[in-house]
Subunit: 309 residues, 2 copies
């Protein structure tokens, strides 16, 4: 099972999840009516490629997405840090990274390789596949790597507003989920989490009562045809229930760099990311947001009611 | 003093160096007459960027360059390894890398960070400047990193034909030169070295009598104007003395990726690398090679007479 399909399965499971009820009190704490439709439109994978950064910055600057998250081990991190310093209002979280999924373009860990040996493939890169990663990774080494990523981002001048998990690796089992939750608690950050029925009983045991739990997450998946891209997204907006939802998109330009980064992988590839960019910046998408009374929110706003040190 | 200017000074010093005489016996060992003009046309910096790789592969495939070297810590290494496996005849060495010189696009070491701490800037990347790097780097940690780079390349399927040094960091002082020489000896590889008058007495003390020593190296430097690019290079060819010379070029396309990689650094920047590509693939350059009876050689050929295990 590929990493993307683990994540997709996780998300598809989530789509049908009824609102937990807990969020009505969150909506109230945030000052919204109980029937408000709050949506984070979230760009993943910043720092992977220049093309990814440029498209994501453009979408953030235009308000086409409300939030984004950054992959610390990737080579373009300094470009993102420059953007973060120039745009302190931008809602940037960390897309905690335990995989390096592309074929000819790879990255290693942020922590010293010998301290996170279980995270590495035979060439010293992070594993390509989420499934492979989960099989090999020792949770204590995942935690070491994740903490190094947070500390590195802070040193670079990125003050994250939230945490989530690249390819969902930290969502796959209780010990990994606990890494995400514990690190987020230590830094007083909200994080992407859904309560999915049928998960192991201890999957959510690290959560605290004040944690922000999303009602649902949407993300385009491979069966969607390119010509249906806009209608897939506008359908989500037209049928969005009240509560707190996140729409994850992957933004980049379909240029030579991005074609090479995503070589031989049309799913979540270069043209895919250009389609996502085209949709979220389109007048039709904007109109659907307005007509359906959807309120865009940021993770910064969601994190405000959290206990502070 | 910037890294590039250390290296340029080194090379400019080299340009006026008389042939050492030693190479007459090398020429003979290789089966060439004593007045042969042997030239390696060498593309630096493979694996830094997709654009760099594509332009360099194109030049290698067309015979416009005879050799190239690869930067192991850089993210596109797997792309180069795929090329190396598909083109076992390609003359690929390792451009041993102890610096990460660009502004918004960075890489760290190949060895575990905690084992090469003296190589790292405060964010865990290799230093930007060669001067800064040389000041901080402990030679034993440079050696650890260099050996890890060689072993990583081998594991990835790249069988290097030679070694040289990115931004000349290993050419700057005797203890660093000894790292290059000792590692090259251990792997029975030829390496880029010139004997430059006025260097410290022990600069070359690790060399053995059978090592291949170049007579001269040429590399474009910032004072050259873009409109003089072709004439700079053809002048080198027209006035090339007999012996063994290397012409170092930096090949990439002047595209969005490469513009972003080389941000704010026109020297050795994106347009510079496109100019280098345009020159070495031009009919005028090809004609000047032929008219001046220059024989292109590879490092593989130079390494053949070396003692083998």
């Amino acid at each position: 099972m590929s990493g993307q399909s683990i994540f997709t399965a996780y998300l598809l499971a989530a789509v049908s999840l009824p609102a937990s009820g807990q969020n009505q009190s969150l909506l109230q704490r945030l000052g919204y009516p109980a029937d408000a439709k709050l949506l984070i439109i979230h760009a993943d994978d910043l720092a992977v490629a220049h093309s990814q950064d440029m498209a994501s910055f453009e979408a953030l600057n235009r308000g086409a997405v409300s939030s984004a998250s950054v992959m610390v081990p990737c080579p373009w991190l300094t470009e993102v840090a420059d953007y973060a310093k120039a745009h302190p209002e931008a809602d940037l979280g960390l897309h905690l990274t335990l995989t390096s999924e592309w074929k000819t373009y790879k990255w290693g860990p942020t922590a010293p390789r010998d301290q996170v040996a279980s995270l590495l493939d035979p060439h010293g890169y992070l594993f390509s596949e989420a499934g492979e990663a989960v099989q090999h990774i020792k949770p204590e080494e995942a935690e070491r790597e994740v903490r190094t990523q947070v500390e590195t981002a802070l040193k670079m001048g990125i003050r994250p507003t939230h945490l989530d998990s690249h390819m969902g690796v930290l969502f796959t089992k209780p010990a990994m989920m606990a890494v995400l939750v514990n690190v987020a608690h230590d830094y007083h950050l909200p994080f992407l989490v859904l309560k999915i029925p049928g998960m192991p009983a201890d999957m959510y045991s690290a959560l605290s009562p004040t944690d922000v739990i999303l009602d649902r997450v949407f993300m385009a998946a491979p069966p969607i045809k390119p010509e249906d891209w806009l209608s897939y997204y506008t359908h989500i907006l037209k049928t969005l229930p009240p509560g707190l939802s996140e729409l994850i998109v992957h933004l980049a330009y379909d240029d030579d760099e991005m074609k090479a980064v995503t070589l031989d992988h049309p799913d979540y590839g270069s043209a895919w990311r250009q389609r996502d960019f085209n949709v979220v910046t389109s007048p039709e998408f904007r109109k659907a947001l307005e007509e359906n009374n959807i309120t865009l929110v940021t993770w910064r706003e969601l994190g405000k009611p959290l206990p502070k040190p």
